[in-house]
Symmetry: C2
Subunit: 451 residues, 2 copies
Amino acid sequence: MSTNQPSERLIVIGGVAAGMSAAAKARRSNPGLAITVYEQSGYVSYGACGLPYAIKGEIARVEDVVVRTPEQFAKQGISALVRHEVLAITPDARAVTVRNLESGAVFEDHYDKLLLTTGGAASRIPIPGADMPGVFTLRTVEDGLAIKAWLDELRPARGVIIGGGYIGLELAEALAAHGVALTVVERLPQLQPSLDIEMASHVQAELERQGVDVRLEHGVEAISGDDRVREVTAGGVRFPAEIVIMAAGVRPSVGLASAAGIALGPTGAVAVDDHQRTNLPGIWSAGDVAEAHHLVTGRPAWVPLGTTANKQGKVAGTNIAGGDARFGGIVGTSVVKVFDLTAASSGLSEERARAEGFSVKTVSATAGSRAHYMPGGHPIHVKLVYEAGSGRMLGGQLVGREGVAQRVDVIAAALHAGWTVEQLGELDLAYAPPFSPVWDPILVAANLARQ
Amino acid sequence: MSTNQPSERLIVIGGVAAGMSAAAKARRSNPGLAITVYEQSGYVSYGACGLPYAIKGEIARVEDVVVRTPEQFAKQGISALVRHEVLAITPDARAVTVRNLESGAVFEDHYDKLLLTTGGAASRIPIPGADMPGVFTLRTVEDGLAIKAWLDELRPARGVIIGGGYIGLELAEALAAHGVALTVVERLPQLQPSLDIEMASHVQAELERQGVDVRLEHGVEAISGDDRVREVTAGGVRFPAEIVIMAAGVRPSVGLASAAGIALGPTGAVAVDDHQRTNLPGIWSAGDVAEAHHLVTGRPAWVPLGTTANKQGKVAGTNIAGGDARFGGIVGTSVVKVFDLTAASSGLSEERARAEGFSVKTVSATAGSRAHYMPGGHPIHVKLVYEAGSGRMLGGQLVGREGVAQRVDVIAAALHAGWTVEQLGELDLAYAPPFSPVWDPILVAANLARQ
């Protein structure tokens, strides 16, 4: 694709969920657009959320999480260049400086429109030994391949996962499937911070039931070894480990944006409007690097999830191609499978709602996943968070062995609608004995609420 | 409980879902109320929806579907009298005439407040042989016990189910588990009339995959046999059968109401306001005998389901006890398990929406129940029905092997909220690879819609 064509030129920095969904949407909407994607890693358009299952071995090959290859994008007229790192954006010249990581060559490219979808990066806690062989983070396909290879080749007997958020929890299941005896060390007094502590305790109990050693309020202090990792020290305790995963959070990759004068929002991620525009003309942003409007707080939030990245990418692609699309905002819905348990939440936890300044009430209930007389059912724990006085729903959490993953979507819908907990309790939800009690667990909880 | 006490007296006619939830709620709200329930069958407070699973053998004993016994209600101060048929209501005298079906004795009882929860009755098609031994309907625990006994004792090799609605479909699974070779005969050109015909075709395919002979447009003409049933004739074809289930629809049991001057609505069920009041002072009604306000059409509807019965019963009980509760209405959400398939719908089908006079558009999509790279996923077929021009959601249907039962609740929420299909497509739904693709099947369908 030659730059002396008269067509308008789009450069996309970062080719995972947001970047590639934007590129594909822009291509469909405006066949005349010249589109180049620069991606630092060796893969574009992959489902990073699938990597724990690839490591586990449930997915045959790690590369199976790739949705489309550069060759497939080329057939659509999208030039997706992997192993190309963008070093700088020069907005005044509408230029980017790029390094080909294979050849080392550095070159300039020019855009009419730029989409910044650099995503997020796993936090590496700055402690001794953090870069030792056998210490991994998980973001890219290469990370997944490296962890899988380490497991397959070294067959580690013991491992430590640093961080009890959803990536740490999913990797606990994945590593346990390889026979690794695991310790999860977490700095906070609970796992999975999107849940309130009493709901997170069910997740902890499931890990422990599966033989995982969970150490809360154990901040990691050092990693040590010889030619490879041998030990993690956390909370003053030494844990032997032949594999260590750092899953201690994610941060938005805003280095390029900041250097180019692209404004960040209050969360530290790139500020965007509902059309995914940044403060600079001709530059859009989307996905894990960007903020999103949170419909419960009415303020910008940074909740890096694949669903939002895909939606924002599609909106950005439409607008870049000359259309007019608007991103409706998020309520912060997520779900995680932890061995045989599922934990899900939408909106604000009680703790978070208080921190946001809401006057909070909560109601909790436990009800069956099936009619009481049906075999095979399991309890579902429900917690609803709502505003005192108005009764307006602020969030909800569910934990159970079945019927959790889509049930949380009803809470998400209530948050989108701005319903009160009473309105939530009036919903005409589906019922058949294999799938629910006649009073759905969400209705049971909602009907116990007192405004 | 003696009638010469000064306390206010509530009589409930019919002690299943609506009646007993009303009685229990009224008791909790007003401890002074004297409450008597007359129930024609031998059981109160049972989950009729569980009966197919009891017949199947998945539930150990048919009686396990009973939630609470008359003895348990007695401890709460509720007198629940089974095998008592109310023969007449005399509103002017605030009296009911009751027959004790055990002793044959007929007596009068007086009420201050009356709740009519007589439910529905299975339609018996008036054809020769409809009352022959081995021909069953299914509404009560006794019906379930009779079917189970027939299966266990006579071990029928062949059976016919008359009617392809949800009770017929659930009983197909139940009877097949007993080794009965089955034919389902249905008068209409499709099964499960809450679905549009192309969605119902997936249900038909599942039945056929399970070895069930499905005969559409085969109206039943005769049932014949000797001391017991031997054959069903439908659509001119003779089907041998040692067991026959009539599952050809349900009608509201309005005989008592009509005779007493209680007004029926346009659907033929008892007309009620949002407080479950009938046209007669001091008389409430709820459950399968009553109508409900349909939030999509804005008109009364008759959709007899256990969920609505429980909710309406609770509202009636609150109001009878002197409180002020309002039933918010229905959107007509239901789900049925058919062997390994689940079919669900909420709101209006395309056919029904057209019949209601809406200008209708639809969109259909098929998407995975899990991320594309996850093993064990199955396609989910989604159809959304919405209003041309406004884009307002009118209904939705889902069919698939997993992830259907709660997913339909998102459509139910959209109907409660009065959202457009575009608004439905903006929802922040939960995603993790074991539970959904990154674009939920509902979002895939909604985003294909063009207003």
